[in-house]
C-alpha cells in the first residue's frame, strides 16, 4: 500500500536483511516501552486484583455466613429432645396409689394412697417431707379424678358418696435473712424444715414450697358405689363452679354442679350442689363404662365403654341434659381404656385396649346423626403403643400428653406435630400398673406405680410442636374441619394450638409477587421497548433516569401511600379503577391512531418530546374519564355495587369475565381479520397516502374493537351458562387491603428494576440486526417484536426474574398495605401475608430461641433461598445470553 521505508537505513544490504533489522529495532523499541510502563501498571493491576478478589470473597463469605447463621438458628428446632435425668425410689406405702401431683419445679411430689395416706416427698431424692392421714370413715375409694392442674381432686366411694380434696403446693419466697435455723440438707440444691422446702433462686431469695393437703366433707350422690368420676373447676376464682360427673355401679350417670359462695362478711363458704341424672346409655348386657370425662364449663360429658364406643352428652341445658352422640372409636369388643382432653378441651384423646391412640375433635358438621349438629371426628391417629393403654395424662400448657400401656411403657406424645417425643426407659419393676403425669412446664414425667414406687424423668424438648410436616404440610388443627395449611403463631390464650405452616406465607409471597408482576411486567417491558426502540436519544436520556429514579423511592413511602391513600381510594372507586384498566390502554391506542391520521406536516413537527407529552396527556384524560364514568359503569355491569357483587350474592360472573376476556377477544378478532381480509386490506392501504391510510386503519380498529366487545361478551355469557363464575376463585369478597392494591404499588417498586435491565438487554442487541430489519422495510414495532425482543429474550427473561425476586423480597409495602392475613386464596381482592412481612411483624415480639423465633428464622431462610434461586437463575440466563449476543 505505502512505499515509505521504516527507519532511515541507507546502507546496501539485501532487502531481507534490512527488513530483519528494522523488525528487530521495532521489537527492541517495543520492549523498552514495555519496561517503562510496567512498574506502575503492574502495581495498579496488583492492587486492583487484590481489592477485587478480597471484595468478591467477602461478598461470598457474607452470603454464606448469613445462610449458615440462619441455618444454625433454625436447626435446633428440627432436632429431637433429650433426657436430662431419671430417679427411682420406693415410698413408705404398699397400698394402691390413687393420685399423684408434682409442682412445676419438680421439687415436691404428693401421692395419695387408697387407705388415705398422703405422702409428700422431695422428688430428686425421694425423701419424705410430710405425711397426712385422711379419714374416709370406713368407706373405700372406688374412683378418683382431678382437675387439669391436678391439685383439686374428687374421690368417689363404695357407699355412693363423693368427697373433694386438695393436694397442691404453696409457693412463697423467703429472703436469706428470714431463713429459719435448723434446716436439713436434702441435696446440693434444696433444704427442708417442717414440711417446707427451700430452694435458692439465684437472687439470694429462697423459693419456699410446702404441700397443701385437705379433705372436704362427703356428699351422697348415689346408693351404689361410684365406679367412674370426673371433676372440673370452672367459673371465677371468687365464685368457682365445681362440676363433677359420676357413674355408679348401677350404671346411672349423674352430673352435679356445686356453686361455692363465699360470704364477704363472715368468710364462710356455702356449697350449693345440684345433681341431674343423665339419660341412660342403654348399654347392652355385659358392657360396662370404663371412664367419664367432663368439660371445664360442664357443658359436655364423654363416657367410654369397654365395647369401643364413646357417648357424648350435651349439658348446655343443665337441667335437661341430652345424649347427643354415640360414636364407635374402636372395633367391637375393644375397650376404651383411657381418655383425656388435651389442654383447651378441643381434642379428646382416646386410648384403646389395642394400644391405639386416637384424637377426636367435636366439629360442627351439621349432621343429622346427632342432636346438636356436631360430631366427634377422628382427626389424628398417633403411633400406637405395644399394649393396651392404661393411663393418659395431658400436659397443662401444651398439646402434649403421656401414655402408659399395660406392658409398663411410658411414652410422651405431642399431638399437633404427631410425634412420640420420648419413649421413656424404665429402670425398675414394669409389671405393676402405674399412672403418669407430665409436670406443669412439660419438662418431666412422674410415674407412680400401684405399689408406691416412684420414677421421675426430667427432659428437655424446646420445640416439640414443630416438624417438617408441620412447617410445610397440611395439619388437622383443633376446630378445623380438615387438614389445612395454617399460620397462626400466637393467639389470645395459652390453650390455643400454635399453627406454624409456612405454606400460607410462601403462598402470600408468591401471590403478591405474581400480582405485582401482572402490573409491572407489561408496563416495564413496554416502557423499555418504547425507549430503546422508538424514541429519539434525547427523550431516552430524560425518560431513563426518571424511571431509574423511581427505584430510589423508599418502599415505606410507597407502602403508606398504598395503605393510606390508594387502598381507601380504590375501595371507594373500585369500579372506576376497573374501568381505568380498560380505558387507559384504549385511550393510548386512540391517541396513536389519531396521531397516524394527522396531516404529515404536524406529525413531523411534533415528533419527539411533544408526542411523548401528548401520550401522557392521553393517559391522564382517560383516567379522568374512567373516574367520571365509574358509577355509571358500576351500575351498568355490577348492579350498582361492585363489592356486593364480588361476594356472589348479586349478579352473574358475565360482566367480569367480559372485561377479563377483552384483550384475548381482541387478539382473536384481529387474527381472524388478518386471516380472512389481510391481503385485500394491505392492497387497499398501500394505494393510499399515509394519513388517509391512518384514518382508514383507525376505522378498521374501531370495527375490530366492536367485534372484540361482542365476542368477549358472548364468550362470557357462554361461560356463565356453563356454570363458570370467577367469584370464589380469583375474585371474591372485597377487602380494603388487598392484592390489587399491593400488586399495583409493588409494581412501582419493581418496574425500575425490570425496566433498566430490559432496556439494557434490548440496547445490547447489535445495531446491525436492527438496521438489517429496518432496511427490509420492517416497522420499528416489527423490528422490536421479531428481531430485538427474541434476540434479547434471555436478558428480558432474566430481568423479569430479577423483578420477581425483588417482589418476593419486598417488605414494607406488603407490611403496610397487604392486610397481613395469612390466607391461601388467589382472590385479587383479598389480603395476604408474605414471608418478609411476617418476619417484620412477628420477630420483634418473638421470644428469643422460642419456637416462633426459630420458625421466623426459617421463614427468613426460605425467603433467602427463594430470592437466591430466582436471582441465580436470572444471572445464569443472562450469562448465557451474553455469550450468545457476543456471537452475533
Amino acid at each position: 500500500m505505502s512505499d515509505t521505508t521504516p527507519g532511515g537505513h541507507s546502507d546496501d544490504y539485501g532487502t531481507e536483511l534490512r527488513a530483519q533489522q528494522s523488525s528487530d529495532a521495532i521489537a527492541s523499541r517495543l520492549r523498552q516501552r514495555d519496561m517503562k510502563t510496567r512498574a506502575s501498571v503492574k502495581l495498579g493491576e496488583k492492587v486492583a486484583k487484590w481489592v477485587i478478589t478480597i471484595g468478591g470473597l467477602m461478598v461470598i463469605v457474607a452470603v454464606l455466613g448469613i445462610m449458615v447463621f440462619l441455618f444454625r438458628v433454625v436447626a435446633p428446632m428440627l432436632g429431637g429432645g433429650e433426657i436430662l435425668g431419671n430417679v427411682r425410689y420406693q415410698l413408705d406405702t404398699r397400698q394402691d396409689t390413687i393420685w399423684n401431683n408434682g409442682d412445676e419445679f419438680q421439687t415436691l411430689g404428693t401421692v395419695v394412697a387408697a387407705e388415705g395416706r398422703v405422702i409428700t416427698f422431695h422428688i430428686p431424692t425421694g425423701t419424705e417431707i410430710a405425711r397426712t392421714q385422711w379419714d374416709f370413715n370406713g368407706a373405700e375409694v372406688t374412683a378418683v379424678a382431678g382437675t387439669l392442674a391436678r391439685d383439686r381432686i374428687a374421690l368417689g366411694f363404695d357407699d355412693g358418696t363423693v368427697r373433694f380434696a386438695e393436694v397442691g403446693f404453696a409457693s412463697t419466697t423467703t429472703s436469706r435473712r428470714n431463713l429459719p435455723d435448723g434446716l436439713r440438707d436434702l441435696d446440693a440444691r434444696d433444704r427442708e424444715l417442717d414440711g417446707r422446702v427451700f430452694t435458692e433462686v439465684g437472687t439470694g431469695d429462697f423459693r419456699t414450697l410446702s404441700p397443701v393437703v385437705s379433705l372436704g366433707e362427703s356428699q351422697a350422690i348415689s346408693d351404689s358405689a361410684i365406679v367412674a368420676l370426673d371433676y372440673r373447676i370452672g367459673g371465677t376464682r371468687e365464685r368457682p363452679t365445681l362440676s363433677f360427673a359420676t357413674v355408679d355401679a348401677a350404671g346411672v350417670l349423674r352430673v352435679s354442679r356445686s356453686r361455692v359462695t363465699v360470704n364477704m362478711m363472715t368468710g364462710a363458704e356455702t356449697v350449693d350442689t345440684t345433681t341431674v341424672e343423665l339419660p341412660s346409655l342403654g348399654l347392652a348386657d355385659g358392657v360396662s363404662v370404663t371412664g367419664i370425662l367432663l368439660s371445664g364449663s360442664a357443658d359436655r360429658a364423654i363416657v367410654a365403654t369397654d365395647d369401643g364406643v364413646v357417648f357424648r352428652y350435651d349439658l348446655r341445658n343443665f337441667d335437661n341434659p341430652s345424649l347427643a352422640e354415640q360414636r364407635r372409636v374402636a372395633s367391637e369388643g375393644v375397650a376404651v381404656t383411657a381418655m383425656t382432653f388435651l389442654s383447651g378441651e378441643e381434642s379428646l384423646v382416646v386410648g384403646g385396649e389395642d394400644g391405639s391412640v386416637g384424637v377426636y375433635f367435636r366439629l360442627q358438621t351439621g349432621t343429622d346423626a346427632t342432636t346438636d349438629g356436631r360430631e366427634l371426628v377422628r382427626a389424628r391417629e398417633h403411633t400406637p403403643m405395644p399394649a393396651a393403654i392404661v393411663d393418659l395424662s395431658e400436659a397443662q400448657r401444651q398439646k402434649e400428653f403421656s401414655a402408659v400401656d399395660a406392658d409398663g411403657n411410658v411414652w410422651v406424645y405431642h399431638s399437633t406435630s404427631d410425634r412420640v417425643l420420648f419413649e421413656l426407659a424404665r429402670s425398675g419393676d414394669v409389671t405393676t400398673p402405674s399412672t403418669a403425669m407430665i409436670f406443669p412446664r412439660s419438662n418431666g414425667v412422674m410415674l407412680v406405680s400401684q405399689g408406691g414406687e416412684v420414677e421421675a424423668w426430667q427432659y428437655r424438648d424446646s420445640h416439640p410442636e414443630v416438624t417438617l410436616g408441620v412447617l410445610f404440610g397440611r395439619i388437622w388443627y383443633e376446630g378445623y374441619s380438615e387438614p389445612q395449611f395454617v399460620w397462626q403463631s400466637t393467639a389470645g390464650t395459652d390453650l390455643a394450638e400454635p399453627k406454624y405452616s409456612l405454606v400460607p406465607l410462601i403462598f402470600g409471597t408468591l401471590k403478591a409477587a405474581f400480582y405485582a408482576m401482572i402490573f409491572a411486567a407489561p408496563i416495564a417491558l413496554m416502557a423499555a421497548i418504547y425507549t430503546s426502540e422508538f424514541v429519539h436519544g434525547r427523550v431516552r436520556a430524560t425518560v431513563k433516569p426518571m424511571m431509574e429514579m423511581m427505584e430510589a423511592l423508599p418502599t415505606v413511602v410507597l407502602g403508606f401511600i398504598a395503605a393510606l391513600v390508594l387502598a381507601p381510594f380504590v375501595e371507594e372507586w373500585i369500579a372506576a379503577v376497573l374501568l381505568g384498566f380498560i380505558a387507559v390502554p384504549l385511550g393510548l391506542m386512540v391517541g396513536a391512531f389519531a396521531w397516524q391520521a394527522l396531516p404529515p406536516r404536524i406529525v413531523l413537527r411534533y415528533d419527539g418530546l411533544p408526542k411523548f407529552a401528548l401520550m401522557a396527556m392521553s393517559i391522564l384524560i382517560t383516567a379522568w374519564l374512567a373516574y367520571r364514568a365509574g358509577p355509571w359503569f358500576e351500575s351498568a355491569l355490577f348492579d350498582g355495587d361492585f363489592k356486593a357483587w364480588t361476594t356472589g350474592r348479586i349478579g352473574t360472573g358475565t360482566p367480569f369475565m367480559f372485561i377479563i376476556l377483552l384483550p384475548l377477544s381482541y387478539m382473536a378478532v384481529a387474527w381472524g381479520f388478518r386471516r380472512v381480509m389481510g391481503e385485500f386490506w394491505r392492497g387497499r392501504m398501500r394505494s393510499m397516502a399515509r394519513h388517509e391510510a391512518g384514518r382508514l386503519d383507525a376505522l378498521r380498529w374501531l370495527v375490530l374493537l366492536l367485534g372484540a366487545f361482542v365476542l368477549s361478551y358472548a364468550v362470557a355469557s357462554v361461560l356463565t351458562l356453563v356454570g363458570y363464575d370467577p367469584r370464589g376463585g380469583f375474585v371474591d369478597s372485597y377487602q380494603q387491603r388487598n392484592a390489587l392494591v399491593v400488586g399495583f404499588v409493588m409494581a412501582f417498586a419493581v418496574i425500575p428494576n425490570i425496566y433498566t435491565l430490559t432496556e439494557d438487554a434490548l440496547n445490547s442487541v447489535p445495531g446491525h440486526l436492527r438496521a438489517g430489519s429496518l432496511a427490509t422495510g420492517a416497522t420499528p414495532w416489527q423490528t422490536a417484536m421479531w428481531i430485538v425482543l427474541p434476540t434479547a429474550a434471555s436478558g428480558v427473561f432474566s430481568a423479569l426474574m430479577m423483578g420477581f425476586g425483588r417482589a418476593v423480597g419486598e417488605t414494607m409495602i406488603v407490611v403496610m398495605a397487604a392486610g397481613n392475613t395469612p390466607i391461601m386464596e388467589w382472590n385479587i381482592f383479598s389480603g395476604l401475608r408474605t414471608l418478609s412481612a411476617n418476619i417484620a411483624i412477628e420477630l420483634p415480639e418473638a421470644v428469643k430461641d422460642g419456637t416462633n423465633y426459630r420458625v421466623l428464622f426459617l421463614a427468613a431462610l426460605t425467603l433467602f433461598i427463594m430470592t437466591f434461586v430466582l436471582n441465580t437463575i436470572a444471572e445464569l440466563i443472562r450469562q448465557r445470553f451474553r455469550k450468545r449476543a457476543f456471537q452475533l
Binding site: M1, H536, G537, R538, P600, R601, L604, R674, R675, G678, E679, R682, R686, A689, R690, H691, P766, H768, L769, A771, G772, S773, L774, A775, T776, G777, A778, T779, Q782, W786, I787, P790, T791, R884, Q887, L888
Partner: protein, 269 residues
C-alpha cells in the same frame, strides 16, 4: 492537507443506461450535528446498472448510501438539505412513507447480519414483514431469492436450520437473498465483501454480475479492482464531496481529476 479552497465542481462522464436513472440525487447536503458530511452531491444513478462508490475512509460513502433508503433517520441531530428523486417523488419530501420506501430498496451491510432464525425465515423476512402469510408464496420466494443469490444448492436441504451456523460468505449471500426477496428496485451494498475471503468475494462479485440488469445496484467498496470489475459507473468521493462520477473504465484508466488519479493509483488514503 487540503486547505479550504473553493470547491471545484464534480466532473461527470456518465455511461447512461437505456432505462434512464433510478435515483436522482440533487444538491444534496448532510450534517451530523454541526459537521457537514456531504457537500452538494449531484448524482444520477442509472437504472439496471451497477454503480460503485469509492473513496478514502470517512469520505461519506456509507452516509450517502444510507440516505438512499433513509436508514439515517434514526440518527439524532441529522440534518439534510436537497432532494433524492425516485421516479417522480422525493424520498425526503413531506409525507413520504419511509417503510414503503425501504421496501423498494434492498440493503446489504458490511458485516453479514443474518437474524437469529432459520435460513428460510431469514430469506422470507421482508415478506413476513409485509404481512404475507401464504405458504406457497413464501416458499416460492425463498427458492427464487436463494437461487438468485447462488445459495440455493448449498442450503436447500437445511432451510430450517439456524442461519448463524453458516459460513461468513454464505451468510453474506443469505443477506443478499434477503435483500432481493421482496423484489426491490434498488439493491444497496455497503462493502459487502470486506469481511470475506477472496473466494467468497469472488462469488459475490459473480452474483453482482448476474444481478446486473435486474436490479439497480449501488455498491460501496474499498477494493478498487472490485469496483473496476463489477461496476458500470463509479463515483469517487473525497471529504464529503463527489469529485468525479462516470464510466468506470474512464475513472480507472483515464481519470479526469488529479485526486481521482492519485486515489485509484493508490497514492493516498
Amino acid at each position: 492537507m487540503t486547505t479550504a479552497t473553493a470547491p471545484e465542481p464534480t466532473v461527470y462522464h456518465l455511461r447512461r443506461s437505456a432505462e434512464g436513472s433510478a435515483l436522482d440525487i440533487r444538491d444534496f447536503n448532510l450534517w451530523y450535528g454541526k459537521s457537514q458530511a456531504l457537500h452538494d452531491i449531484n448524482m444520477e444513478i442509472q437504472k439496471g446498472s451497477v454503480t460503485a462508490l469509492i473513496g478514502p475512509s470517512g469520505c461519506g460513502k456509507s452516509t450517502l448510501l444510507r440516505c438512499l433508503n433513509r436508514m439515517n433517520d434514526l440518527i439524532d441531530d441529522l440534518r439534510i438539505d436537497g432532494q433524492i428523486q425516485v421516479g417522480d417523488f422525493d424520498i425526503y419530501g413531506p409525507g413520504v412513507d419511509v417503510i414503503a420506501l425501504r421496501k423498494r430498496m434492498g440493503m446489504v451491510f458490511q458485516k453479514p447480519n443474518p437474524f437469529a432464525m432459520s435460513i428460510y425465515d431469514n430469506v422470507v423476512y421482508p415478506l413476513r414483514v409485509d404481512g404475507v402469510t401464504k405458504r406457497s408464496v413464501l416458499d416460492e420466494t425463498c427458492e427464487r431469492a436463494l437461487r438468485s443469490a447462488a445459495l440455493w444448492d448449498e442450503v436447500k436441504d437445511r432451510l430450517k436450520e439456524s442461519a448463524l451456523g453458516m459460513s461468513g460468505g454464505q451468510q453474506q449471500r443469505l443477506c443478499i437473498a434477503r435483500g432481493i426477496a421482496s423484489d426491490p428496485e434498488v439493491l444497496l451494498m455497503d462493502e459487502p465483501c470486506s469481511a470475506l475471503d477472496p473466494i467468497a468475494t469472488l462469488k459475490i462479485e459473480e452474483l453482482i454480475h448476474q444481478l446486473r440488469g435486474h436490479y439497480t445496484i449501488v455498491i460501496v467498496t474499498h477494493n478498487m479492482q472490485q469496483a473496476a470489475r463489477v461496476s458500470d459507473n463509479t463515483g469517487f468521493m473525497y471529504l464529503g464531496r463527489l469529485i468525479e462520477y462516470g464510466d468506470t473504465n474512464t475513472i480507472f484508466t483515464n481519470p479526469k481529476k488529479k485526486q481521482t488519479e492519485d486515489y485509484v493509483s493508490g497514492r493516498f488514503g
